[in-house]
Amino acid sequence: MSSLSERPTNPVVGQEIPHESAALHVTGTALYTDDLVGRTAGVLHAYPVTGGHAHALVTRLDPAPALHVDGVVRVLTAEDVPGINDAGVKGDEPLFPSEVMYVGHPVAWVLAETLEAARVGAAAVEVTYEPLPSIVTVTEAIEAESFQGGQPTVRRGDVEAGIARAAHVFTGTFEMAGQEHFYLETHCSIAQVDESGQVFVQCSTQHPTETQEIVAHVLDLPSNAVTVQCLRMGGGFGGKEMQPHGYAAIAALGATLTGRPVRLRLNRTHDITMTGKRHGFHAQWRVGFSSDGRVEALDATLTSDGGWSLDLSEPVLARALCHVENAYWIPDVRVNGRIARTHKTSQTAFRGFGGPQGMLVIEDILGRCAPLLGIDPVELRWRNFYTAGQDTPYGMPVRHPERLATAWNQVLTSGDVLVRRAEIARFNATHEHAKRALAVTPVKFGISFNLTAFNQAGALVLVYKDGSVLVNHGGTEMGQGLHTKMLQVAATALGLPLNRVRLAPTRTDKVPNTSATAASSGADLNGGAVKDACEQIRARLAVVASGELGVPAADVRFEDGVVTGLGGGETTWDELVRLAYVQRVQLSATGFYRTEGLHWDSSTMQGSPFKYFAYGVAASEVEVDGFTGAYRTRRVDIVHDVGDSLSPLVDLGQIEGGFVQGAGWLTLEDLRWDTSDGPTRGRLSTQAASTYKLPSLSEMPEVLNVSLLEHAHEDGAVYGSKAVGEPPLMLAFSVREALREAAAAFGPPGTSVDLASPATPEAVFWAVEQARSEHDERAHVVEGSPGREPEQPSPSAEPMRPSSERVQPHVRSGV
């Protein structure tokens, strides 16, 4: 057991406690950024000037009419920007564009005394556009060869040889939709400038440091003149990793130009039309199976729909390629990736970060091929699992694959899977118009940022003379319970009861140069840093105690606020702190953590980018109505690996919430872009809560059993825990596969059906119709060796650069 992962006796980590802000949440007293408006005097409101073209040049922009609207104070345009007119770090996201790249792209912002005046003012700004041709779908982009960024390949062995070896070769394509984050709190920033010109931005951001950097480069200020604070977010899910920066910069620009606080809050329609989403992906593939159903080779080309700018599309793609094999050993692999450039919102991070899309490709393949191979899908998946000693296609050893097998068997047993499948067979035989199915799918998900540099974190822990403790760390709280876990880590490391420790809101002037709270890594990284800071303080206090209690410092124990010397004497924490102060011992410390043992070469797409893998298994049972395609999720059983949980209630919430969000992506949430040639081309027609439907209580599984995998200690992470934010999302594959099997049950045995993603009731209905159709087309999977080779990257394609994850802004501004 490593010193990082070892727990003291009676640790506060591992206790089942509610979210640290639960009492504030339920009483409506927890503050979010927009709740500060009424607490700030003289706030101006910002409203965007937007147009209806998917792609157009701005030929004229006249703000004057807006200035005649009562209450309008100022119109912000490109000319107002003192620094770099860019909302991102790659130089391809003009903050005030001269070329509109998607429907709703804001070209100017109006500031006014009231939101109403700003809205009316925005409508009064006169803009003339010269429409340009647009690309809306990935298929259009593929045809037009409209790509952006690097085109990496993950390769192992000889895919042609693998295909030649295979007894069965299948070829197919698959397209999956993206997903809107729909955090309940939309983007919001409030910016102020103080008497010294210091800019203070309160922002709903997962990445305060980068928000700070973008605000600074837009205003042409050094980072030390900009402070960003995030109180808490009403959900983030990746949507506030890169997207908030530009809006924060607009608010900050307005504040510096008017000298008044500026609030920029996107309403829901703006948020959906303007901000990036999960990438939709297109996949061309061929796959070879041995006669007993082992995957011999996978040859695939994945094209993600990147939208108008690069954003995080390259690392998202990298993660997709690093997860395409999910939990399965595939000897010969070639997976290419490319990013389509389309006239849509700039697609971005979303829980799973490309991993889900990559994994969905293989799960879809297995789901479609199992009936064609005549092998039960449960058996087919099991047979292909990684076993000890095997490496991923990118050359990383798969540690603990036996945990996957354990979780799988546990789900089969606790979920009574065999018995229930027999019951389902009986039900299906006696019901013409309704069919049930139960599917089991695995998750293997790599934890760490692919780019090694991001795997670092800092913390600042302050102990006051009265013994109370204030913890600052670089991570942000968006509901995932990071702050709860950090309090537990600090209380454990200091040997204090939880109520002696408080957490301060995340601020860039407390902990600098932080990474985004993303990649599920928040607790691993910040936990390491908080623990480090606490241990420094504890070590100093142990010396003080040693003098006081007359035992060696190594024999001083801290537990529940009591400090004991082994073999005699004890004092209280408060007393010890007082003593330390008097003895002039420093009572604060900065902590730092970097994840050891990572290496990754994105030019070859090889290395060990992840500290460890998180595993999970889900079994889902659904019932499909043959008249409508409507369905219900009857029961779900999950076993998930969170290591030794830091906070079981929080982890359970992440697993359940992730699962339901994943099910939403795969079944219900429907981004419909207007692909017609009419005047509304490129418009997102589901840009409101009334048309973009999230799961509600009615989609909740009727029975949901979740257990944490036991004996799951992770040596490489803080107090033996594992990250939990993203992996559970992919447990929802089981729902999609169950829907596929239920739809197939309307046809003869051995029916393979294609299922669109999302599998809305309509999509399921068409799958049922496909299964029922007399001339069985045996799905749109074609059998025959050597199959159709997916399109290969063009020789002139850009490679993935080591820096592809992101370019640091100061590097850019030097260019």
Partner: protein, 482 residues
């Protein structure tokens, strides 16, 4: 009538003057402006429930019913003289309300943004006077009688809902000494005459029908509103503003429910929740419809008159009311007239109603057909708009279909009757063969289009399967099981 400076709302037990705000100001924005930021804006269109608050509404008897509504849809003037409770008013960090306690300890909040809204919706159900332990809990009702539909208008993006459901089902009976329980035994605040002005715009609540009709006659551009669940969306999402808004929702003349031997007459300003309770199972077709209509938060505001008033081709009531052969009673200063619903809609969002006329009531003739059904095709079971809605009412005697009435929504510019299908059924034996043939006719009814909710092909398929499904559910000797 009351002048605007007198407009005031009791919030969490304290009277708060509304002040000088434009009449389109929503309750949500007003609450947030006076510093009560617990209620959140998640969508501003009644879909997410983050803005949910409780209002004191008249109960069916003399008491008060704590009723949760979407505060993002209703103008603050509509609460003049009324009582509102927000999450802040239910409990404090040191003294949590039972609902807040269950939500907090069970992990019912993660980011917490949806939570105050959930708490208010849950609290309204907690105080529901007729909530009592359910001997047989089912998929939508807990052992404590908690009806899950109470939360059908609240979205949470974080938790996946299980802990929220557990919190709801863990609630005990409301304590009789709890001030909000005690409040339910007293009458609800009366509607007060309101005249709230701001510049040249006004929100007006008359207290009798004659005044309302007079206002409409004098101001042809005035917008009459009831629950504002439709108008509120126009205001917040599409920037609609009216010089004069006339509130109908508390007019006693529009809030009557009569049942006689030959008809059920439903007042236009009754909310769907009230109609459901008032009919008490008398019209099974509507009982099947109500839980599928929007969410409880919306049904607590949405009126039957408003549903016809929007003239929407995808409204849920018209197909059902068409199947029930309903008539619409219109009233103006000039008098009353009755129009068959089948002749009421004249085009996309157009009807025979003149601007000075109001819908007074909807009349459903009795007796009702024995076989009725309401099929709503939507992506989501709770709170979604129909892509296709089908109301079906059939009389079958001696194995023969004597009479068929089928109303359709979502397949034409107006709600329509499926007349060709009705003819294909009437006079024919109630057999699988008849149904199959009629289903093919039904498939061709209307002129469905492709949109973001469904493809035209799916809509047609749903028309076809609606009859097959009805037959599978109602054929005497063939259930839905093979």
């Amino acid at each position: 009538m009351a002048r605007s400076d007198a407009v005031a709302v009791t919030v969490n037990g304290r009277v708060r003057p509304v002040g000088d705000v434009p009449p389109h100001t929503t309750v949500l924005h007003w609450l947030r402006e006076i510093g009560l930021t617990g209620a959140k804006e998640g969508c501003a269109e009644g879909e997410c429930g983050a803005c949910s608050v409780m209002v004191a509404r008249p109960d069916d008897g003399d008491g008060t019913r704590w009723t949760a509504i979407n505060s993002c849809l209703v103008p603050v003037g509509s609460l003049d003289g009324q009582e509102v409770v927000t999450a802040e008013g239910l409990g404090t960090v040191d003294d949590l309300h039972p609902v807040q306690h269950e939500m907090a300890v069970r992990g019912g909040s993660q980011c917490g943004y949806c939570t105050p809204g959930f708490v208010c919706s849950m609290a309204a159900e907690y105080y529901r006077p007729d909530r009592s332990p359910a001997p047989e809990p089912d998929r939508e009702r807990g052992p404590n009688g908690f009806d899950l539909h109470a939360l059908s208008g609240n979205l949470c993006r974080c938790t996946g809902y299980r802990p929220i459901r557990d919190a709801a089902y863990a609630l005990g009976p409301a304590d009789a000494s709890d001030p909000l329980t005690r409040r339910t035994t007293e009458p609800a605040p009366l509607a007060v005459a309101t005249w709230q002005t701001y510049g040249d715009r006004a929100y007006v609540r008359p207290t009798d029908l004659q005044t309302a009709l007079g206002l409409l006659a004098d101001h042809p551009d005035a917008v009459p509103v009831a629950g504002c669940t439709d108008w509120g969306v126009e205001v917040s999402l599409r920037g609609a503003r009216a010089d004069l808004v006339v509130a109908l929702d508390r007019l006693p003349e529009l809030r009557e429910l009569h049942v006689s031997d030959d008809a059920v007459d439903i007042g236009a300003a009754l909310t769907l929740s009230e109609v459901g309770r008032g009919l008490a199972g008398r019209v099974p077709l509507l009982d099947e419809l109500f839980p599928q209509f929007a969410s409880l938060l919306i049904r607590n505001g949405a009126t039957i008159g408003g549903n016809l008033g929007t003239g929407s081709p995808i409204g849920d009531l018209p197909p059902a009311l068409l199947a029930l052969d309903a008539e619409v009673v219109l009233i103006s200063a000039a008098g009353e007239r009755t129009v068959a619903l089948a002749h009421y809609f004249t085009g996309y969002r157009e009807s025979v109603r003149r601007p000075d006329e109001l819908i007074r009531s909807v009349r459903i003739p009795l007796p009702l057909s024995e076989i009725t059904a309401f099929h709503k095709i939507a992506k989501r079971r709770f709170d979604d708009i129909s892509s296709v809605a089908v109301g079906l009412a059939l009389d079958v005697q001696d194995g023969v279909v004597r009479r068929a009435r089928i109303g359709l929504g979502g397949v034409a510019a107006t709600p329509i009757r499926a007349r060709a299908t009705e003819s294909a059924l009437e006079g024919r034996p109630w057999t699988a063969e008849t149904v199959r043939a009629a289903a093919e006719v039904m498939r061709t009814e209307g002129t469905p289009i492709d949109d973001q909710r469904a493809s035209a092909a799916y809509r047609q398929a749903m028309l076809r399967t609606a009859l097959l499904r009805l037959y599978a559910d109602h054929a005497a000797d063939e259930g839905r099981t093979a």
